[in-house]
Symmetry: C2
Subunit: 417 residues, 2 copies
């Protein structure tokens, strides 16, 4: 995975000014015997999460974990559980995925999403998809259809569809369409949502004073907020382009602060799941960059970039699932801004239980980010509710040049087959 | 690279029934002192190339090599040289890339292409692109624009664009559009071209008798050939879908022979280049699967899948460039059908020349395929003309379960900086 590579390379280590490692051992009690087990780890974006919105982000992570665990307990596939978590994250107007995603240069929402099944290594993805509320559902359906084998006349089924073709495929497969204006304007309900939307589209200097003024302006508007914000910021962009002469523009291009844009650009959401049999799945979904060019596809849609899942094999005792946030193509950037969630699991018979026909699945998990903060949630089928957390870089650490790593261990017990 | 992995894995080795290795040492004489050096390796598709069409494929490979070498000799970037080779391959109606690409289910051409610069590690790609004669030119332009740094207001430039958005970006950047009917019907000129088009779209049993009858039918048509062939084969597909009952269809889905479809599906073209300074670049372009779903994007457009280029670095004495053909997502397929071209180069001072202010660039190159055949061409700036070759699996070897590997070595001399 590109993010892993970036963060663990020898060259990168010299830039790491702070590393925070917290081990949380989540050893839990006996599982409920009538239900299947499993574990899920989700994140609602690596970027910047203000204290004022922390509660909202934690809440959506908690709901996403619960949805995945409900699926696992009902015996669903790991891919269906990870999809359920992503649907919840996409439906939140606070995340840059699905409903309320960033708007592109034309004021449209175009989403990327992908999913991978660790058992079959099958993959499904959509890119630059408009008009569908839950892009991850289309990615999962592509994965499912791909697992059925070839189409009539020996045709290979698609696993990655983009744009209008992806939309058509989804509708043809019974996935309902969603009017673009509903996806765009869903954040007018609360002042908090309004505030975030402004922040996402703040292409000028994001000083507090300036931001406060914009929020006051917006509060007067009741409807069509996203579009109004888009138009206002588009005008700002056009003004910036006029003001920046060729020379200044070239200079600014290379010097422009990541903070101006990236706090709104890295809100990719993701989830990783392991079921009681040790099958893993991973998924990722993103609305992409604010004011991106129409048709732009980011890493969330790309094989081997946005997510990876691989069950234990002959040469590998671990099942592994990874979901990333950030851009793998920014080789020339000074700092790498991104985040990652990872889990790996292996079977091990606990000594005390070896006589009781039970086997323990050891699940190690971690989240890591070079952005200022990352909101995560995790839950096992043995837990009553999900744990949520906003991980932050230590005080004084510089985003893009520092990395925070936190994680834990969870033991799941399941009957021996 | 996925193809490399597939072909060199321990599990795969048991399936390899034949390995052919041919080393061709191309040590050449002194370079022309007034011109810059370099080396190019191209391929016009891994699939099935009949003896009757061998000449055409070799000819386009030769022209592609010459175009790249002309660029290198003129001091162009490795990325511009590799683009020049790809443009030539795309312009041929015999390859499944650019002009005359496979048609999708709606009878449209949608192309994928990508390019990577080994010096900057920058990447450019387009997917499901219609209406542009040379998709690789758009990919190269995306790469070039990406290397200029951020856009106004700190926006990150796109490196992967798809569909309508990719088309708009290309036209906005001065790349001329090409009417779809010109790209579709360009093969009516010669009988040979007609024959190939029929073969590409033969979704029924490709027996000689049947094929001959179809060709006879087509010869009566003078205009709009591709569209007619598409409509005829679409009808066959619909008939096949009616005839195949649920049970039979499911069975056929899993059993359908690769030969029915893949001889027309793996005609991705690619090139790898090293310039006289050791900078490498790689590119790939494909029209994708015949009768694919609109919006389908294949590996030719995907980062880390279709091509890779990486200059020598602190921990790596070799510059490496790779271009692949085949699908990385077919984890469940019985056999892996694909091809790859690779070059790697390193600086080494030849003993005799160390006193003459000259340095030798050692270039090792190879092509490998699991398909029945692969047409390649290669040339150094010191050669008068390109060498071309159609590599075939040894007699009796089964496509998808056997691999052919051939390659050579080339020494380029250049003045010490």
């Amino acid at each position: 995975m590109t993010m892993e590579k970036g963060m663990s390379s020898g060259e990168g280590l010299s830039q790491i000014s702070a590393v925070k490692v917290t081990a949380k051992d989540l050893e839990t009690k006996q599982p409920q015997k009538d239900r299947r087990g499993g574990f899920v780890l989700v994140h609602a974006g690596a970027g910047y999460h203000s204290e004022s919105k922390a509660k909202e982000y934690k809440h959506v992570c908690k709901r996403a974990c619960q949805k995945a665990i409900e699926k696992l307990q009902a015996g669903a596939l790991a891919t269906d559980a990870v999809t359920a978590a992503l649907v919840e994250l996409e439906d939140s107007p606070f995340t840059n995925a699905g409903m309320g995603s960033n708007l592109n240069l034309l004021g449209e929402i175009e989403c990327d999403a992908s999913i991978m099944d660790g058992k079959s290594l099958n993959f499904g993805a959509v890119g630059a998809l408009s008009g569908i509320k839950n892009p991850v559902s289309v990615a999962n359906r592509l994965l499912c259809e791909g697992q059925k084998g070839k189409l009539s006349a020996g045709r290979i089924p698609p696993c990655f569809l983009v744009g209008e073709g992806a939309y058509r495929w989804a509708v043809d497969h019974g996935i309902p369409s969603c009017p673009p204006n509903i996806m765009t304007t869903s954040r007018v309900d609360s002042e908090r949502e309004t505030e975030r939307k402004v922040f996402l589209f703040a292409v000028g200097s994001p000083s507090n004073g300036c931001r406060g003024r914009r929020i006051a302006l917006i509060r007067r508007q009741e409807q069509g907020f996203s579009l109004a914000a888009f138009k206002r910021n588009k005008r700002k962009l056009e003004l910036a382009e006029r003001v920046e002469t060729d020379f200044i523009q070239l200079k600014k291009r290379r010097q422009s602060s990541e903070k101006e844009n990236d706090s709104g650009t890295l809100d990719t959401v993701g989830a990783v799941v392991v079921d009681h049999e040790g099958n893993v799945a991973a998924a990722v979904s993103s609305g992409g960059l604010a004011l991106k060019h129409p048709g732009r596809v980011g890493q969330a849609a790309l094989y081997g970039c946005g997510c990876w899942a691989e069950n234990t094999g002959a040469h590998n005792p671990y099942s592994t699932a990874v979901s990333t946030s950030g851009s793998p193509f920014l080789a020339s950037e000074d700092g790498v801004l991104g985040g990652v969630i990872v889990l790996r699991s292996c079977r091990c018979s606990a000594e005390a239980d070896s006589s009781q026909n039970k086997q323990t699945l050891l699940v190690e998990f971690l989240w890591s980010h070079t952005t200022e903060s990352m909101c995560v949630g995790y839950m096992s089928a043995q837990d009553g509710k999900a744990k949520t957390h906003i991980s932050r870089l230590p005080p004084g650490a510089v985003a893009g040049q520092s990395v925070a790593i936190e994680g834990g261990v969870c033991r799941l017990e399941s009957p021996v087959n």
